[in-house]
């Protein structure tokens, strides 16, 4: 039971307190790029969540049983990036097969998940924090859910903003950045509530 409580805390901490986008400022590129409509933002969040969870899963094994066991920690970046790249490739193939509409809507941002720093950051944090297998999975999944929440929230705000009377000089990206800043401030309110 204590174990479960610990994992739940870790999950909430990753989703809210240490939100990848709004607190750690990772993955800003898709956060601004694909947040025009709620449904594409949500799909992007799902794709990222899937890639993150799978990455956490594989990265844990690669790190523990290959890199650490063989004293090859210095190859972490290389090993992780090929894992992430292949996973993204797999997701891209699957989405193209399953939903061409979604494939078009995500556009260039789908292959860009590869270079999404949120995923690389998450992968690198696993050995850094010393998470075990279950913790890694929860951490990866939580990071994805946190990303999804952030991107869906801002997409909802931006959809409302379409009807707003934005001053000309702030239209488009500037107002979005201001929005993101205010959201980050709001999420700062969670800071220090859970320390895992």
């Amino acid at each position: 039971m204590i174990e479960f409580e610990h994992l739940l805390l870790l999950f909430i901490a990753t989703v809210l307190v240490n939100n990848f986008v709004l607190i750690r400022f990772l993955g800003i590129c898709p956060f601004l790029g694909v947040s025009r409509h709620v449904d594409t933002a949500f799909s992007m969040g799902l794709a990222t969540t899937f890639v993150m969870t799978m990455t956490a899963f594989i990265v844990y094994f690669v790190n523990t049983y290959i890199l650490v066991a063989l004293n090859l920690e210095f190859l972490r970046y290389m090993a992780f990036i090929i894992v992430i790249a292949s996973l993204v490739q797999l997701v891209e193939m699957f989405i193209r097969y399953a939903s061409p509409v979604l494939y078009k809507a995500l556009g260039i941002y789908l292959p860009l998940i590869t270079t999404n720093c949120a995923i690389m950051g998450m992968a690198l944090m696993i050995p850094l924090e010393g998470y075990n297998f279950i913790e890694s999975l929860v951490f990866g999944f939580g990071a994805g859910v946190g990303f999804t929440i952030a991107i869906v929230l801002i997409a909802g705000l931006r959809e409302k903003l379409e009807f707003g009377d934005v001053p000309e000089s702030l239209q488009g990206v500037p107002i979005t950045l201001i929005l993101a800043g205010i959201m980050a401030l709001a999420f700062m309110g969670f800071a220090g509530m859970i320390t895992v």
Binding site: L75, M78, L90, M93, Y97, P100, G107
Partner: protein
């Protein structure tokens, strides 16, 4: 130290090999069948992904071309060479699009129209239209503040003294800016060869239209009746011309009691059938007023009393020189 090197190479190679195998299987499982022409078109494109065509990169443009959404000549970077090779792939002819020019479908300037109000606000058609303040009685016509002149990126539109925009046909590139800008939708893109325009957009009933403007369409239907090719239709008290069907004969402009129709093409004055006639009867069948008579395989004749001189027989005649016509250039008058 050497063993570390060996481990590094083997382990990284191993990871890569496993992932590659996984991807290979996945690519077979999730294979998507695409139109092979899309790939061919993509190969011919410059591949700069510059977006000058208006699509997100060369792939998106190739797909749009194959689906017929984008023009074959849509890639400004590749130019003629690329559009020709795309046309080859798609079995189309490059540059089949006819040149177009913007035409103003209103000629109610300050002189021709009745003003019933005075507008003191921002001098912009869109602003005036938004607050519903129009100086002219006609609520469909040109507002006259020149939003089209301001928006035209090629300086092809100029407001004349009568408060109407004049399009310079040589400078106009049919970019559609004025069509989108005009709050009353008075501009259309018409083929450059079209020399006949119904310059009115008023849906008012005849007596109101006549009261508001000296040159407005009063929906008398004369043009509809006289048109030999049925190119004009009445839509909600307004005569609308179909440019694809119109043969630029100028008959409707002659009939129009309000001078709403602006014709500046070549009007047929004399037309007759010569000895070259092969007697195919095509002209006789096409003639809207049955002015042509004659047996098959014999020379036909036009009855000058019935003939309306529309020139349709000249257009359809398959034998060269069988029908000769004399025309008058109406663009001068």
């Amino acid at each position: 130290m050497e063993s570390l090197f060996l481990y590094a190479v083997v382990s990284m190679g191993g990871i890569a090999a496993i992932l590659a195998a996984g991807l290979g299987i996945a690519s077979r499982t999730f294979e998507v069948e695409t139109d092979p022409r899309v790939d061919e078109v993509t190969d011919t494109l410059p591949g700069a992904n510059c977006g000058a065509c208006g699509y997100a990169g060369c792939d998106a443009f190739a797909e749009a071309v194959v689906e017929g959404e984008a023009p074959v000549s849509g890639c400004p970077v590749g130019g003629e060479e690329v559009s020709e090779s795309i046309a080859d792939i798609l079995d189309l002819e490059a540059g089949t699009t006819e040149e177009e020019v913007a035409q103003l479908l209103c000629q109610g300037g300050e002189e021709e129209t009745v003003s019933t109000a005075h507008y003191e606000g921002v001098k912009s058609c869109n602003a005036a239209s938004n607050v519903g303040m129009l100086e002219k009685e006609c609520k469909y016509g040109c507002i006259g503040f020149g939003d089209c002149e301001a928006v035209c990126p090629f300086d092809a539109i100029e407001m004349n003294e009568n408060g109407l925009p004049v399009v310079d046909e040589d400078a106009c590139t049919a970019c559609n800016s004025c069509v989108e800008e005009c709050p009353h939708d008075l501009f259309v893109l018409a083929p450059l060869s079209g020399k006949n325009h119904i310059r009115c957009c008023s849906h008012d009933e005849g007596k109101f239209a006549r009261g508001a403007c000296d040159v407005g369409c009063i929906a008398c239907r004369q043009c509809v009746k006289v048109c030999p090719v049925d190119a004009i239709e009445m839509e909600d008290n307004l005569a609308v011309l179909d440019y694809d069907t119109c043969i630029n004969c100028g008959l409707c402009a002659e009939k129009c009691p309000m001078n709403t129709i602006d014709f500046y093409g070549e009007r047929v004055i004399e037309i007759e059938i010569t000895e070259e006639c092969i007697g195919c009867t095509r002209c006789a069948r096409e003639c809207p007023v049955d002015a042509i008579s004659g047996e098959a395989k014999e020379q036909h004749e036009i009855d000058p009393d019935i003939c309306v001189k529309c020139g349709l027989c000249y257009e359809v005649c398959p034998a060269e020189g069988a029908i000769v016509k004399e025309t008058e250039d109406k663009s001068q008058t």
